[in-house]
């Protein structure tokens, strides 16, 4: 168990009549970049505040480095938090902000100076150490907040929507930089975000929360490719769904009958564990996995559905199509833009949508 950094055991926290955190259990490994992802009101921020010690658990326990945090106040926890809006001290300079934690620990002046200098160097803010927070750009303020937390060398660094206040371009640069810094310092990062791309890009593992409950924990790839529920599938990226019933098993695949499709036509899919004949299931398909063509015969695919293009959007790197399939089923498809000679479909055009069994995920409801 030495490799577990943070363990949340059956944590419960009520806000009024609702459970902000509902029997949450979670383990975070030492040195990993762990993200808690969820829509607003999912309980992710409350979870972070429970870890930081700003909120008290109603039930359960939180262990950090094997030590129970139940009765430990925020100033004695081996964690530091990067606040959503940074919460930089406006009356202190960049240096004063970053040295604050070390001064609270009454470290010798020399040590404070050298540790602040090295962390400011890491976030490339050495030339700005005498500036006031109000004189810094959003990205710089964000890096001061990061430095102010990291300089204390906490066991766990908590980040609350760390990139939420930055504009799109800066956000993408900081995703890369934050991950690089995490790898450099080797500290466990727990990051709370509602931004799914951010979570997938930076994290070693992602936890999905919804209404106070933990829905799924896994690597970004597992979360994206094998969502455990239709909520996760819908929250992470765009997904197309089909509801049906398993008709029979054929070895590693199964046939799913979908109401509204021509009789006799079944969808071939990879069954989920625990599904049996007659189980009602939801089939989830990512828009970029669909193969579009207007030729009747194309070999090599397990499934084909006929439909019509209802909308075509060009967004530079790809074409996005809205397709209407049989019986009011509406799907999205994305086709990477590979340049000249590529077939572009026009609204109203008939298309065939093809995919293989292992590209869809079957969810048992």
């Amino acid at each position: 168990m030495a490799e577990v950094s943070v363990e949340i055991r059956n944590a419960v926290k009520a806000h009024g009549a609702t459970l902000a955190v509902d029997h949450l259990s979670l383990e975070v490994r030492r040195g990993e970049f762990f993200s808690i992802l969820g829509p607003s009101g999912s309980g992710k921020t409350t979870t972070l505040r429970l870890l930081a010690g700003f909120e008290r658990l109603d039930q359960g326990d939180i262990l950090i480095e094997g030590r129970s945090m139940r009765s430990v106040p925020p100033n004695h926890r081996p964690v530091n938090l990067v606040f959503q809006h940074y919460a930089l001290f406006p009356h202190l300079t960049v240096f004063g902000n970053v040295s604050f934690g070390l001064e609270m620990r009454r470290l010798p002046k020399e040590e404070i100076r050298s540790r602040v200098a090295s962390v400011l160097d890491m976030v490339r803010l050495t030339p700005k150490q005498d500036r006031w927070p109000a004189q810094l750009s959003g990205g710089e303020q964000q890096r001061v907040a990061l430095a102010r937390a990291l300089v204390n060398q906490p066991s766990v660094l908590l980040l609350d929507e760390p990139l939420g206040a930055l504009d799109q371009q800066l956000r993408q640069d900081m995703q890369v930089e934050l991950k690089a810094i995490q790898e450099q310092v080797g500290i466990t990062f727990i990051c709370v975000t509602h931004h799914q791309e951010e979570a997938l890009t930076m994290s070693d593992r992602v936890a999905i929360m919804h209404q106070g409950r933990l829905l799924q924990v896994g690597s970004p790839q597992e979360i994206y490719e094998a969502p455990a529920s239709s909520f996760v599938a819908g929250f992470i990226g765009v997904s197309n769904t089909l509801r049906g019933r398993i008709a029979r098993f054929n070895g590693t695949t199964c046939d799913v009958t979908v109401p509204g499709l021509p009789t006799g036509q079944a969808i071939v899919a990879r069954p989920s564990a625990g599904a049996g004949v007659g189980s009602s299931v939801t089939l989830v398909l990512r828009p970029e996995r669909l193969h579009l063509s207007n030729e009747v015969r194309v070999g090599g695919f397990d499934n084909v559905l006929e439909g019509r293009v209802s909308k075509a959007v060009y967004n530079g790197s790809e074409m996005q199509y809205l397709l209407s399939l049989a019986d009011g089923i509406s799907w999205k498809a994305r086709v990477p833009n590979v340049g000249e000679g590529q077939k572009k479909f026009l609204p109203g055009e008939a298309v065939f949508v093809r995919w293989n069994a292992d590209e869809g995920v079957v969810l048992t409801e």
Binding site: P74, N75, A87, F89, H91, F100
Partner: protein, 257 residues
């Protein structure tokens, strides 16, 4: 704006004239060489010189400063505590307490003066500079509460949490982060309270005992007989000091959070 609405400009100027013309005349005549008439008979500084030699007046100045200083300190300490309690620690009956604290802002000062006097008499506290000081602290308390609380409301509560997260105890977070950020409001409130105390007549009139003469009381007793140029000079000084303090107080409060 002003150019498009000439009547607005006229109204503003009329307003300023209405407010400041009497003060300007008063200051002007404090330099008038004539003792009696309202006619200008050449400039002089002799009335100011006379003031500096009037020992009863200087004693009144001393009393005023002492009362102002002590009552301001009391009002500031209690006011900051009350503002923190109201803003950061919600409690049962908070609205009632809040109303009670702010009430002196709206009740007529005469009533407050009478009430304080009756209270001091009923608890057998002899009327003196002590009772004046308590009275001034009482009417300055809500002013401090309003100003400090206004700033506290604009402070990000995350700042205190950040300090706690970085290893500060609750007390360290308060005095290393909250107090420095509140300081402009605290200083502004202090200056305002001091000025109001310095200028107060009504509450002082009811709560002062024999020998506890403050500057406004002294001016009043001097005016009873006749308006002398010394009074003009004294009033000019009072007006300028008050305006200076208020200006400073406003400048401090405008400092961004």
């Amino acid at each position: 704006m002003i150019k498009r609405y000439p009547w607005l400009l006229a109204a503003s100027l009329g307003n300023l004239l209405f407010l400041y013309a009497p003060i300007a005349v008063l200051i002007l005549f404090s330099f008038n060489a004539s003792r009696l008439s309202a006619r200008w008979q050449g400039g002089t500084l002799q009335w100011y010189r006379l003031l500096a030699e009037d020992e009863a007046l200087l004693a009144a100045v001393q009393n005023s400063l002492l009362v102002g200083l002590v009552s301001t300190v009391i009002a500031t300490v209690l006011g900051v505590c009350a503002a923190l309690a109201l803003e950061r620690f919600p409690f049962r009956g908070q609205r009632a307490i809040e109303g009670a604290i702010l009430l002196p802002l709206v009740i007529p000062e005469v009533m407050m003066g009478v009430a304080l006097m009756l209270f001091f008499v009923s608890i057998k506290l002899p009327l003196s500079l002590v009772t004046v000081t308590i009275g001034h602290a009482a009417f300055n308390l809500p002013i401090v509460v309003v100003i400090v609380r206004g700033r506290l409301r604009k402070l990000d509560p995350g700042l205190e949490e950040a300090a706690r997260d970085l290893g500060a105890s609750a007390w360290q977070a308060f005095h290393r982060v909250t107090v420095p950020l509140l300081m402009p409001a605290i200083l502004g409130a202090t200056l305002l309270a001091f000025t109001i105390s310095l200028d107060d007549f009504i509450v002082t009139f009811f709560t002062a005992g024999p020998g506890a003469t403050t500057l406004p009381l002294k001016v009043y007793s001097m005016v009873k007989s006749t308006v002398t140029p010394e009074i003009n000079a004294l009033s000019a000084i009072l007006v300028l000091v008050s305006m200076g303090l208020i200006g400073l107080s406003l400048a401090l409060q405008r400092k961004p959070v």
